[in-house]
């Protein structure tokens, strides 16, 4: 019995929930923190989720609420310092990694104590480029060139947000959707085909393309839900396998005349009709397209779905306690199928954003690694819609900045992966960061006090609804 009645510790970042005021950074005022609380509570809705699929945990565990955390929340509330330090730590570690591997730095390090500035310059240069490539390029010739980086960030973030929402939504219903990759491919496949093979009037065409992409993703996601609901097949296995199958299917189709350009044997589809493309938002010199607006709309939709609709209520109930959901008359099988279909549709939208917005054609690498990045994005966003949105922006910035960094300083873009993952790791584990910086005086009690702190945090954030 104790097993059932003892409240289980929350599996995720419960220790990252708001800390008592006294540990707050002096610079962050309480009012700011409260303001962000409010933002977050409208964002996260009534019930901040567990980022852990409960179904992959045990049925009927009495989970505590998750600390109401998304990235923003983390950054602006009591843990602002920790978040800041997390980023700092990741950047420093990334810097060290760049330093020890850069032959130029090796040269400057040789006379480090004679001219320490040289070494620092060599390490800071890539980061400067990163900012220049993702937010604002002060060296740009005109305003357009200066603002180009931020638009690029938004462009790159668009599919990440959409696919991230798909992963997050499934998470909330207790399903670990590793299959965004395959669902993006299907969305792109359907969308692109309708985009180049059908010729419809302006306006209608784009609409049909989006619809086709949503359907494509929904089919590929829905299959997972169907298999899970009908046969009990583990969704992790099925999604991994379906990713491969989707990829090979795409590669096959690109060798068929139906998908190849006229007179070409290269595995690239024709360009989509101009009527099938997302309109450019800021003119042709920017890549930013209306797909970004679709991503915002998708985020708002998912927020509404989860927090204001009966369907979302079912999803969340099934995710948090499938057994109680069943007892309350919720059709768990139907929920599973539906949530995977919607998750797939969201990933499919990411595919449409790729073919109809950014790339304008279909190729074998159309999904890049977006489907996998989306998992990290959703996890960093704590599976809340707006959390995922901002996490997607952050990753978009890193990706866009990474390109500029590589171009300017020849630093391999892989470093961005390292820094990104370190940030996620550190932000998820504030006590670790505090321990590294020696900020936690009661070291021995780290885990327990963290847990208790988050419990109070839970109640508090719950009370804010």
């Amino acid at each position: 019995m104790s097993e059932k009645t003892t409240p289980e510790p929350q599996a995720t970042g419960r220790n990252s929930a708001p800390e008592p005021i006294d540990t707050r950074v002096p610079g962050v005022t309480t009012s700011e923190a409260v303001a962000s609380d409010v933002v977050l509570d409208t964002a996260g809705g009534q019930m901040p989720p567990s980022a852990v699929p409960a179904a992959t945990q045990r049925r009927g565990r009495d989970h505590d609420r998750d600390g109401s955390g998304s990235v923003l929340h983390q950054i602006f509330t009591g843990n602002a310092m920790v978040s800041f330090l997390s980023v700092l730590l990741a950047i420093v570690l990334g810097g060290i990694l760049m330093a020890v591997t850069n032959p130029k730095v090796a040269v400057t390090a040789g006379y480090f104590f004679a001219q320490p500035g040289d070494l620092l310059t060599e390490v800071i240069r890539p980061y400067t480029a990163l900012v220049q490539g993702s937010i604002f390029n002060w060296a740009g010739a005109d305003l357009a060139a200066q603002l180009y980086p931020i638009t690029e960030t938004l462009t790159v973030a668009t599919p990440l947000i959409c696919a991230g929402l798909g992963v997050a939504l499934a998470f909330r219903a207790g399903l670990f959707n590793i299959g965004a990759q395959g669902q993006i491919i299907f969305g792109a496949l359907f969308g692109a085909y309708v985009g180049f093979a059908w010729h419809l009037p302006i306006g209608l065409h784009l609409l049909v393309v989006i619809l086709a992409g949503l359907v494509g993703g929904a089919v590929w996601g829905g299959v997972v839900g169907l298999l899970k609901a009908r046969t009990g097949a583990h969704e992790v296995i099925v999604t991994i396998m379906l990713n491969y199958i989707a990829n090979f299917l795409l590669l096959f189709l690109l060798t068929t005349p139906a998908f190849q350009r006229k007179g070409s044997t290269n595995p690239i589809s024709p360009f989509l009709d101009p009527t099938a493309l997302f309109p450019e938002l800021l003119g042709p010199q920017f890549r930013l397209h209306a797909g970004f607006l679709a991503a915002i709309a998708a985020t708002a939709f998912v927020w509404w779905l989860l927090n204001r609709s009966t369907i979302g209520f079912e999803f969340r109930a099934v995710g948090a306690n499938p057994s109680a959901a069943r007892t309350a008359g919720i059709n768990v099988a139907r929920s599973t199928i539906l949530v995977m279909a919607i998750a797939g549709a969201l990933a499919g939208l990411a595919g449409v954003a790729q073919v109809s917005g950014t790339e304008k054609y279909l190729s074998g690498g159309v999904a890049a690694s977006i489907g996998f990045d989306a998992i990290t994005v959703a996890l960093l966003g704590r599976s809340t819609p707006w959390g995922t949105f901002f996490a997607g922006l952050l990753f978009g910035a890193f990706r866009a900045g990474g390109v500029a960094m590589q171009a300017q300083t020849q630093t391999p873009i892989d470093i961005v992966l390292v820094i990104q993952s370190l940030i996620v790791l550190f932000i998820a584990a504030p006590p670790l960061v505090r321990a590294i910086f020696g900020l936690n005086p009661r070291k021995k009690k780290t885990t327990t006090s963290g847990t208790a702190g988050s419990r109070t945090g839970d109640v508090k954030s719950g009370a804010a609804v």
Binding site: L93, I96, L97, A99, V100, A106, A109, G110, Y111, F112, F113, A114, Q115, D118, L119, G133, A145, E152, V156, F248, L251, T255, G263, T265, N266, P267, I268, F271, P284, Q285, R287, Q354, T358, E359, K360, Y361, S363, G364, G365, V366, A368, S369, I370, A400, V403, A404, Q406, A407, Q408, Q410, P412, I413, D414, L422
Partner: protein
Amino acid sequence: MAGVATLGASALLLTGCGAAPSASGPSGSATASDYTACMVSDSGGFDDKSFNQSGYEGLQSAVKDLGIKEKHVQSKADTDYDPNLRSMVQQGCKLTVTVGFLLGDATKSIATANPNSHFAIIDYNDPTFPKNVKPIVYDTAQAAFLAGYLAAGTSKTGKVATFGGINIPTVTIFMDGFADGVKHYNEKKGKSVQLIGWDKDKQDGTFVGDFKQVDKGKVLTQGFLDQGADVVLPVAGPVGGGAGSAILDAKSKGKDAKLIWVDSDGYLTAPDYKSVILSSVQKTMSTAVETVIKDDKDGKFDASPYIGTLANGGVALAPFHDLDSAVPADLKSDLDQLKKDIISGTVKVESKSSPTK
């Protein structure tokens, strides 16, 4: 991670006691130039032991020989091409070389938007390219044809094999040429050497599925050897190493098998396997890249496509090196004659994947 970091930091400290150099410019051997040539890889990256790497070597030798500046960026995914190209233009590149057909569309659109910059693209030609793009393409099938003939002529088991990374034209053009070479040998000599792993009519065969799983390339090659093949042509970038490894294993068990490398002369670029490398189907990309850069620097850029053939030395069959003795003299003379015939057009080499002229 922390361990690595501390280690690195302490290493820095330990070595950080030298004297600073006086403030002088970079000490290049050639005269420094403001001319910057750039390169963007496809998602394979510059260390793909294949065409990205060859192209990159061309850029490097241009830097060395011409004293120019260079910048290069690797694309991690297909979605990186456009931003990478843009940033190269922003970095003030006079000439940007892009590698692979996947960059075709991005190159075209960026080139159209930046008519004052020059571009060159390897392995792709599009008749609608603007006037500032120079396509560099190779009729690889010609050299692969020779390789097929060579393989058939040296095979003792009467079976030769090939496999690819993914079924795409830049890969299958090797396989097409190879298949025709084998066929030509059979017709000429009345033999029936069999090719496994590629069906030219159906344009399908054996593929690893990506360019990463080197160990799978090894198992595949073992499969070929089990089927009785004794000459293998892997067209799969780094995965070719797996084939080399399998053949080395077979050789250590007393089996006689040989490898034909692709893109570069494997005897030089993959020295681990030089004892089993019969020859290589070379695309002399580095030379082409260097030439294009030199021409552009000298103000002689032109957008007419460069098509590497046996005639202009753009593609070639590499020397036999250590396995020279394994190739009979009459086969060598046959190959020389065949090369002349291909150049003169008496022997036609056709592949669906051959570049459009």
